[in-house]
Symmetry: C2
């Protein structure tokens, strides 16, 4: 119930866990760092999967499935890759009652195992481009975990593509960045900044890493997805070559990209409030709950129940994509039910009571604004469709407004330092591309460069401004810095 | 290409692998016993998942996700369970660079980890029934593997339910058995026998195991799915208890059930032929491929290409659920394409050539019957929908006929022995329920009791007949025996 939820102002971190646990999105498991995704949470993941899958397919990518286990030696073939992942690996050393000759790593990501297949499948330029995606679980041994945001095992999709030229491969990583960005805005109602990661934040084994970054309600950044231009790093390690139309043997150029169940955490921290979960209609399993009100056993209640079912049917036939439920369990109080549907993030609540029914009306309440309206029954189906659309838009607008209001432009180190000390949100400013300055932002201000934005002439705009960390005026680029998850 | 496929008559086992590999459904991976599911195979799994998921939801079951890893001690809590699975376990002993304090088993099935959560979530009879399902990967270390049919890692769904009474739990396992059976017949066009497993074939930890059994084209049986009535075995081990309405604390009663990527193997061995894959339209990703025919660069080809695209559009607008592709890659010969679409199991092939186009017609060829028809272009969209429906029905009818023709009734051991020696198919007969007789079928005839059928008064019908293995006439039941995968 709502009483169990710590207000955001009191303790944002506790509020987040309270919402996740009380809305029954996930629970702790007996395995350290691994979570259980409960039906209320998993239904969100299914909506995410379906929407994103359609968008990924539209880029000419097909789904496949590769093994969970990777021979330990595969990881080592790409030097940066193994260095990056070695501390996080879970290793199977025994199987079928015996010690294994070669230890098997539980996949932290699948570049290596997939390249071992690519090198077998790809012979000629006619086999390119090859674009595959898989929906799978991966394991990264984490010291500090938090439900959805960072867990030892998580669910994700990982795309892996091969191209004849580096330009095509990089173009693919940019195309998917757009897919992620549009998906976040249109489906999750979560606005994101998009851009390039700095070298120190690059994926282990990539040439360049792109990312999308959302702002949570505590004004911290959440990395919501990454795409990588891998160059021929993995192709070299696995001899993924093709015979080009000019008769020459060449290495393929690759991209890889992924988003995970972390998005559910981002969704919660973007939209939810002190009453519980707020979900954009596009990822809500149930859109409308009708709550019949009346005294148990009374003839009035009987009419109310009939009218509720009739209304549910009318909504369904007016819009087949709207999922409506009637909560006819009269062992529970209406007040309890109101709290419950707010807690679990049902977008629209409809109350049908005997007195309203006499006036041929019902009350419709919107989860995002809390606004209640009395409406004639026959107008409700059309209103539902309209309200769900408005709610989807309103959540995005609200999140965008919040993000923009909390994104600041800094011209000097003093300004930057103060904004970070105040937890003021994102700071945009010039950066000299020096590692020392990046480090200074981290150690002195607990912030990181989230991305070098790509939304306009990115590498140019900041050239004239001094670096907000050291004051230098040399090859500066525009950077977005923030505290982050 | 088709030439690479060994005929079924020559070597059924090799034919199967040839179809799977050449139709690019799956491939061997560098990890022993683990396969790669390629896009052509994974799209079948997605169709299976979507169709079965809808049917499972209709039973009031919701999807969730539980951890991949299970603490080793959990397995041991249910004595039969650990005994059954211990030889097949893969064990993580190191993670994050350290030796683990408690070794983690990669789930071979999730009864134990899920019960650890059930015991936390279930307090009162109001929490029952609780019906959850998960789509996941599981690992069972197998000595002899075969693509799809038996692999170390496989994909499946596993349902787990809790009920207040044993009757309800058993009823659930029977309800899902019906779901599986209908799904196999309606979606996969694969007829199955359904019934009870003998004690020796029971799931480790179950009270009773039910199963569906299909007949492959080599007349061997394939277990296509199982459902288990678990009684309170796991509830006892994990103290999964509830406070009943009578104020007493009681153990819950449970069911669990699953089908896996093995179904894809069953699909191949039920319908495919010496030309390659044959797919029921309901699990085909692409239903129709239009092949334009003409000389490269000729004006006739231009008209053919335009007419092909127009036809594709007409089919799509006549039936949005039909997926149509035009293969306009003119670097490949039409003859090569004909073989290719047969090999990968496209239900309908349409050839559009200049001469036919002059007559305003095209050729439509059905994959299952090989029948070709010349049809006026405007009649093709309606024909496609009709032909796909007929094909779905025809494949089921054909498989049913084959199965029935190869199911024999035996009255004596001599009859039984001869039928098994002839690889004649399934044998139906009375069984005295003696373990020695079951063993005799195995050692002397390489066959097993596939199930005790449930389709009529099962425990009664055979009472008067002598056991076909020992001749006894005591508490006999009807049994279906066969060689199997």
């Amino acid at each position: 119930m709502a009483e169990k939820i710590t207000p955001r102002e009191t303790d944002f971190s506790q509020w987040y866990l309270d919402v996740v646990l009380n809305a029954r999105l996930a629970d702790y498991s007996p395995v350290k760092g691994c979570m259980v995704i409960r039906p209320n949470g998993y239904s969100i993941w299914e909506k995410i999967r379906d929407s994103l899958d359609r968008r990924i397919r539209a880029t000419g990518t097909r789904n496949a499935y590769f093994p969970l286990f990777i021979p330990e030696s595969f990881l080592s073939r790409e030097a940066e890759h193994v260095e990056g992942f070695a501390p996080e690996l879970a290793v199977v050393t025994q199987a079928g009652g015996k010690e294994l000759e070669e230890r098997l790593v539980v996949r932290p990501t699948s570049e290596t195992i997939i390249n071992s297949m690519f090198s077998k499948w790809i012979q000629s330029y006619r086999d390119l481009p090859l674009k595959l995606n898989q929906w799978a679980n991966v394991v990264r041994w984490e010291m500090r975990t938090r439900l959805f945001l960072r867990t030892t095992e998580f669910l994700w999709q990982e795309g892996h593509t091969c191209h004849a030229t580096p330009e095509e491969a990089e173009q693919m990583s940019r195309e998917i960045l757009d897919v992620y960005r549009n998906f976040c805005e249109e489906t999750l109602a979560m606005p994101v900044y998009w851009g390039l990661k700095t070298d120190s934040e690059r994926f282990a084994g990539a040439v360049r890493t792109y990312c999308i970054e959302g702002m949570m309600q505590d004004r911290k950044a959440l990395q919501a997805g990454t795409t990588h231009f891998l160059g021929d790093n993995f192709a070299k390690a696995f001899e993924t070559k093709f015979l080009d139309s000019d008769g020459k043997e060449k290495l393929v150029h690759q991209s890889s990209w992924g988003v995970s169940t972390r998005l559910i955490g981002g969704l919660v921290m973007t939209h939810s409030d002190d009453k519980g979960l707020v979900l954009p209609p596009s990822v809500a399993e149930t859109h409308v709950v009708i709550i019949p009100i009346g005294k148990k056993g009374s003839p009035e209640l009987e009419s109310v129940l009939i009218a509720s079912e009739k209304l549910a049917e009318a909504i369904r036939s007016s819009n087949a994509s709207v999922c409506v439920q009637v909560d006819a369990d009269m062992t529970k109080q209406a007040g309890w039910k109101f709290h419950e549907v707010e807690l679990i993030g049902i977008p629209l609540r409809i109350e049908v009571g005997p007195r309203d029914l006499d006036k041929n009306q019902a009350v419709v309440a919107r989860r995002d604004t809390g606004k209640k309206e009395f409406l004639p029954l026959e107008k409700i189906p059309a209103f539902v469709t309209e309200a769900l659309g408005l709610m989807q838009k309103n959540l995005l607008d609200k999140a965008k407004k919040f993000r923009d209001e909390n994104t600041h432009r800094a011209g000097s180190y003093e300004e930057f330092k103060k904004l970070m000390a105040d937890n003021a949100g994102f700071v945009e400013g010039a950066w000299c591309q020096g590692k020392e300055c990046e480090e200074k932002a981290k150690t002195e201000n607990k912030s990181t460069i989230r991305c070098l934005p790509l939304d306009s002439a990115w590498n140019k705009i900041a050239e004239k401004d001094p670096c907000i960390l050291c004051g230098a005026q040399k090859e500066n680029v525009r950077a977005i810095m923030a505290k982050s998850y």
